[in-house]
């Protein structure tokens, strides 16, 4: 029961995230214990075929048919229990110029089955944020502050071994470029199976060499590939990644990530490297997964249209901080932060012949940030105080959070 932070209620009774500084534990919606949430795994259904992996526990383990759980598609407000609560997360990359502050005090709350988009320009810390949640920040980068609560456990306090067990099993991640994310040297089926094997859904060596376990591996892999919509998986699981198209590769990645039925899927620009039509297919697949299994999704993207299409909630990041967060409709229709407004103005619209308005200036050097608002140098509503002090992330119109001195309340 360590999840009692958060401030303002979300649109459907869900809580929107808040800064941990202003959110002392208080009376709030009663919430399930972390342990109960864990059971949700066994309730979630296979998203098309209605089967799910059962953890290997001796001889009789197998893929048991699961109940097609009705509660997997229950409305969002009923599954409001936070599976992931990130607070004050800060990550730096030491360089010769000083510490690059890639992530600066990010707070996020993800309820079960939530879909959250993180949008922002390149280099604003979106990907670093996801990698930090996985505790996979590449050397020499490191997380310097914050906590990452996953169903009642602080991931920051886990040992390397415990964290490894969380990765892929509880929290899975897919990356931007499927072409480079699949290992070129291994068959696609083996890469999917590896996910199952490391978490004990398939036996490891040497038991995996027996004929029985090879057959079982084949069945599970083919089933997973079918679920993500890869045609003729019976033959294709023996192929290598380069024999797949980009869209099919991304489906393989998703199958790999979802093999162990994680509670959270972190998707780092999963459609950026794909054609527009394929993008839509991949997004549809992710939506389907979210709706049928209740896997919560954090979608990092620089494409606001994708966020609008796909997510219920959006967090806009700038220079390592969340500058505006709230329900997607509210943020897109009536942006409060000048950066969000700028982002929206720079999107081309079909049928409009108006010239686009880019955001002037450049993203600040994250190794040499001043004391003031990091957006101030590019801001069109800048005030004197913007150069002196950091604005706090505060609730605006009861539905969202904005980090701006010049905001209207």
């Amino acid at each position: 029961m360590a999840l009692e932070t958060g401030t303002i209620p979300g649109p459907c009774g869900r809580r929107a995230p808040g800064r941990s500084a202003d959110c002392a534990p208080g009376p709030d919606i009663p919430r399930k214990q972390g342990g109960t949430v864990n059971n949700a795994r066994s309730q979630s259904a296979g998203y098309t075929a209605g089967i799910e992996p059962v953890r290997e526990s001796g001889v009789a383990a197998g893929w048991a048919p699961a109940r097609v759980a009705a509660d997997a598609v229950r409305p969002a407000d009923e599954r409001a229990c936070a599976v992931l609560q990130v607070s004050g997360l800060s990550t730096v990359y030491p360089t010769t110029r000083g510490d690059v502050q890639a992530v600066r005090g990010v707070d996020l709350t993800l309820g079960e089955g939530d879909v959250l988009a993180i949008v922002g320009e390149s280099g604003c810390g979106k990907s670093a944020c996801l990698l930090s949640i996985m505790r996979l920040v590449p050397h020499p980068g490191r997380i310097v502050a914050g906590s990452i609560m996953f169903v009642g456990r602080d991931l920051m306090s886990l040992s390397a071994r415990e964290m490894r067990e969380v990765r892929g099993r509880d929290i899975a991640m897919v990356f931007q470029d499927p072409m480079t994310t699949l290992n070129p040297a291994f068959r696609v089926g083996d890469q999917i199976a590896e996910s199952l094997r490391v978490h004990g859904f398939l036996p490891g060596l040497p038991a995996s060499l027996t004929r029985r376990s090879r057959v079982r591996q084949r069945e599970m892999v083919i089933e997973l590939m079918r679920q993500v919509g890869i045609p003729s998986p019976e033959t294709r699981h023996l192929e290598y990644p380069h024999q797949f198209s980009g869209g099919m590769q991304q489906r393989v990645l998703i199958a790999t990530a979802l093999a162990c039925r994680p509670k959270i899927l972190l998707a780092d620009e999963p459609t950026t490297a794909l054609d527009v039509t394929i993008q839509a297919q991949v997004l549809d697949l992710m939506r389907e997964i979210n709706e049928t299994t209740g896997t919560a999704i954090v979608l990092v993207t620089h494409d606001l249209a994708i966020a609008a299409e796909f997510c219920r909630e959006v967090a806009v990041m700038y220079a390592g901080q969340i500058v505006e967060q709230g329900p997607i409709d509210a943020v897109l229709e009536d942006p409060v932060h000048p950066y969000t407004r700028g982002l929206l103005r720079s999107i081309p619209r079909l049928g409009e012949r108006k010239p686009l308005t880019p955001i002037m200036g450049e993203v600040p050097d994250l190794a040499a940030l001043g004391p003031g608002c990091s957006f101030a140098p590019r801001c069109d509503v800048r005030r004197p105080c913007c150069d002196i002090s950091q604005p706090e992330l505060v609730a605006v119109d009861g539905r969202r959070l904005v980090r701006c001195h010049a905001r209207r309340d």
Binding site: R164, T181, N183
Partner: protein
């Protein structure tokens, strides 16, 4: 027959023109060297008349014009007749087959030594980049690349044979220890016949020459493994493997090293050339009765048939090693076909 098999067969057939080219080139280059075998032989013997010289040249066919000599040589090659060694009058094929196992044993052991040392060093240096181990091993590999084999070999003899008296100075095996001949490789034969004293003795004789010959290869391979590991460790699929929850050691070995080996195989294939070419020096230092020493002696005595045949053996070995490299490459890299 599978596609790969057809391709391998094509490659084998393609060696025929290569062999022909090598034969002609060696023939011409040998003739370009000043002096001929008869001159060398009469220089060593005394009281030889012009008639004797002429008779000897006629007997050896050296009085014929060069195109005729070349034609005869090539005709012999086609029949599988490599001719006779000039000074010893022994069949060239026999001389080469006697020396070849020693050379192969030395080359294989050097390669094994190099790989066993270099691959783990390369991997550890990459995983712990800029650590003490990394810096030390890269400095050592720099030494290994720069140090000539004749110097390293002699240093080894002085330290391990003369001062420490651990290892013999020269030879392949102590007289009387030879195992029954099966493959001609003493270590393998000793293993096959269960002759442990012979195995131990052969290994002691192998240690210094194999280390001397393998040091340069190990140095190059360690650097290649390190740099390709460094590249591969930054790849997305390595991060993805970690995100799947794969144990770090499996990430390094299964995902990273497997891919880092692709460029390494190419380099190792090329280094086999060093093992064969460099063995003339190492075999001379350690009195190793292999092909390298045979070739050096044959060149000094202008033993045309023997040099021609030996160089042909070297060339064919190169072709075979290249083919093996390519086959291994396609196995490691599914994107490649032969």
């Amino acid at each position: 027959m599978r596609r790969t098999h057809v391709q391998i067969l094509e490659r084998v057939l393609a060696t025929i023109p290569i062999a022909l080219g090598v034969a002609i080139a060696v023939f011409i280059f040998m003739r370009l060297m000043p002096g001929d075998p008869v001159d060398i032989m009469i220089g060593e013997a005394g009281g030889v008349t012009q008639e004797d010289i002429h008779a000897l040249k006629t007997e050896l066919g050296l009085d014929q014009s060069l195109p005729v000599q070349l034609g005869r040589y090539l005709a012999g090659l086609v029949r599988g007749d490599l001719g006779y060694s000039i000074p010893s009058s022994r069949p060239v094929a026999v001389v080469i087959l006697e020396a070849l196992p020693a050379t192969m044993e030395l080359a294989l052991c050097s390669l094994l030594f190099a790989l066993v040392i270099a691959v783990p060093i390369g991997v550890v240096s990459a995983v712990r980049q800029r650590s003490f181990i990394d810096r030390t091993s890269m400095a050592a590999s720099f030494l290994g690349i720069s140090m000539p084999a004749f110097w390293l070999g002699i240093l080894g003899i002085i330290v391990f044979s003369l001062h420490l008296r651990w290892l013999p100075t020269s030879g392949r095996i102590t007289y009387g220890f030879e195992p029954a001949t099966i493959t001609g490789l003493f270590t393998v034969d000793a293993l096959l016949t269960g002759n442990m004293p012979a195995l131990w003795d052969a290994l002691k004789h192998l240690a210094l020459p194999a280390a001397t010959l393998g040091a340069g290869v190990a140095a190059v391979v360690a650097r290649v493994v390190r740099s390709s590991m460094l590249e591969v460790l930054r790849a997305d699929y390595v991060l993805f493997a970690r995100a799947k929850g794969v144990v770090e050691r499996a990430v390094t070995i299964r995902h990273a090293l497997r891919n880092a080996l692709i460029p390494t195989v190419t380099v190792v294939g090329l280094q086999v050339g060093t093992l064969l070419g460099g063995n003339m020096i190492v075999e001379s230092i350690f009195g190793w009765p292999g092909l390298g020493r045979v070739v050096v002696d044959a060149i000094f005595s202008r033993d045309y048939p023997l040099v021609q045949a030996a160089v042909m053996v070297y060339a064919l070995t190169f072709v075979v090693v290249n083919l093996a490299t390519d086959v291994l490459y396609t196995y490691l890299n599914p994107k490649m076909t032969l």
